[in-house]
């Protein structure tokens, strides 16, 4: 049985890069049981790379990622992942229902057909996310918001213990963003959520902690941040790098609360 007081994921002093270029420089970060963590920072600052390191898609040069999931199981297949639209082929001949069902696939059933439970779980998740009307449709025929929810459904159908979303608000309209906010708030009652985003404002109300990444981890904290402060914080990496005083900008606002 896993220790419930320990963080679910501990990123311990992780350094990683591509070629000779260091992208993550001694980054340490924790993900707690009820977290809603927003990883923010400039483009190319290492946000997505940090996500890849947590998901086990890249091996750190040094440091480690330690998992302590509630189930006590190996993290493989226990982490929910919602990618950006650009990482897969939207024209691939799959119906939305097939795409969601794919979230049940793992090493254990690789060579077996999907079970009755797999199909039931997919149907439940499709209904829960309001996708029943488009379940038979093709990915290229649905709206951005619907495709986003289908990707979330695919991540949720395998009962993940943490949900990771990469730029979830990037390709959807304002109305879909409202739906997404409600959905994530609802999901966050059960599992921690980690969002990599450059658009902190649309998710601001529910974010509990932010991590500001620009090669190094510049800020990692849990203030009750207002929208304005969030915007300030989002600008932080650039300012901090130019002025070389990592904490002042944040602390000024921080202490008003």
């Amino acid at each position: 049985m896993a220790d419930l007081n320990k963080p679910l994921v501990e990123i311990r002093d992780v350094t990683f890069g591509y070629g000779r270029e260091v992208v993550l420089d001694h980054v340490s970060l924790e993900i707690g049981a009820r977290d809603f963590l927003a990883v923010i920072g400039p483009n190319g600052g290492g946000k997505t790379t940090l996500l890849k390191a947590i998901l086990g898609l890249v091996n750190p040069w040094s440091g480690q990622v330690v998992y302590n999931l509630p189930s006590g199981k190996d993290p493989r297949g226990r982490l929910g992942y919602v990618p950006q639209f650009s990482t897969f082929d939207r024209d691939f001949p799959l119906r939305i229902s097939d795409m969601v069902l794919m979230g049940r696939l793992g090493r254990h059933n690789l060579l077996r057909p999907y079970s009755r439970e797999d199909r039931a779980a997919a149907e439940r998740t499709i209904n829960r996310l309001g996708l029943a009307g488009v379940a038979r449709a093709h990915a290229s025929e649905v709206s951005g918001g619907q495709l986003q929810r289908a990707l979330i459904a695919r991540a949720l159908v395998g009962d993940p213990e943490i949900l990771f979303l990469d730029e979830p608000t990037a390709s959807i309209d304002a109305e879909s963003r409202d739906t997404l906010r409600g959905l994530l708030a609802d999901l966050n009652r059960a599992i921690p959520i980690v969002v990599v985003t450059h658009d902190i404002t649309s998710l601001a109300p529910m974010v509990r902690r932010i991590a500001c990444i620009n090669r190094k981890l510049f800020y990692h904290g849990d203030p009750e941040l207002s929208l304005e402060v969030m915007e300030e914080v989002y600008g932080c990496p650039v300012e901090l790098v130019t002025h070389g005083v990592p904490h002042r900008v944040l602390h000024d606002h921080h202490h008003h609360h």
Binding site: Y18, Y81, F88, L105, L110
Partner: protein, 277 residues
């Protein structure tokens, strides 16, 4: 002039028809993965590289098929294993493999003493030369490729659709990719017998490209491209017989005409609501 059906009493034509049908089933299914995973250039590279193995076998007087299989498989596995970040230009690597294979093949064929085999047959294929033994080899290869695909189908679809997600789910992505490339390599070897090295990529892609325009779910696309593949292969053979055309090009050209026709048809259907306004 005897009709095509009468001519089917000749063994060589029956072999040709059977080889064509088997190859079409295979390329309809494997070709769909080639198209959706954008592996057409790799497939073409494997096809040309395989000629190196065929030339070597010629020189030593062995069945060229025995040389084509290991070379095609080795190329497929090497292309799957190479680290794309280190090699920098993956495209160029495929091009090099392609040219080296052809060069090796041509050198050995040139140096083969005595009767020099007709290069044109290997470049453009001659399905009418398929022997009973070739047919058996094609059957064994096709069945093993399709059986492997059936066993790993879910995983291969998942990797073809979204490799990163498959890795997050803990699937053995490298193994599945290697299997897919290996299946493509064996399919290429079979197709060389039917349409020749240069035209392999066309037979691998044309039926699936047409099918992808007509169907939206994977099952529909797979069945559709098998049907279209069988149709153009048999139709091409018939044209080749009636008008004395080389069989490989006749098959490919019929496919190209169908592709243009379906594309045009889709465009007209899409434009109709605008015209009627």
């Amino acid at each position: 002039m005897p009709s095509f059906l009468d001519a089917l009493s000749y063994e060589f034509l029956r072999n040709a028809v059977l080889a064509g049908v088997l190859a079409s089933v295979l390329c309809g299914i494997i070709g769909t993965f080639v198209v959706v995973k954008k592996l057409a250039f790799i497939s073409d590279g494997i096809s040309h590289a395989a000629f190196g193995g065929m030339g070597l076998c010629f020189f030593f007087g062995i069945d060229p098929l025995l040389g084509a299989i290991p070379v095609a498989l080795a190329c497929a596995l090497a292309l799957g294993a190479v680290d794309r970040e280190t090699i920098r230009s993956y495209d160029a690597l495929i091009g090099v493999l392609w040219a080296v294979g052809m060069a090796v093949g041509v050198v050995f064929v040139y140096k083969t003493p005595g009767y020099a085999p007709n290069l044109m047959t290997y470049l453009f294929g001659n399905i009418l030369l398929v022997t009973r033994r070739d047919l058996l080899a094609i059957l064994v290869l096709a069945v093993s490729v399709l059986a492997t695909l059936a066993i790993f189908f879910k995983g291969i679809v998942a990797v073809a659709f979204d490799e990163v997600f498959a890795r997050v789910r803990g699937l053995p992505v490298r193994l599945l990719m290697a299997l897919l490339l290996g299946m493509i390599a064996l399919s290429v070897v079979i197709l060389i017998q039917v349409v020749g090295i240069i035209l392999v990529v066309a037979l691998l892609t044309i039926p699936s490209v047409i099918s992808l325009m007509l169907w939206k779910d994977l099952r529909g696309v797979l069945l559709g491209s098998v049907g279209i593949g069988v149709g153009i292969t048999l139709g091409g053979l018939l044209l080749s017989f009636q008008y004395d055309l080389p069989s490989g090009p006749a098959i490919i050209l019929l496919g190209a005409v169908l592709l243009i026709g379906v594309y045009g048809g889709k465009k007209i259907v899409a434009a109709r609501p605008l015209l009627e306004r």
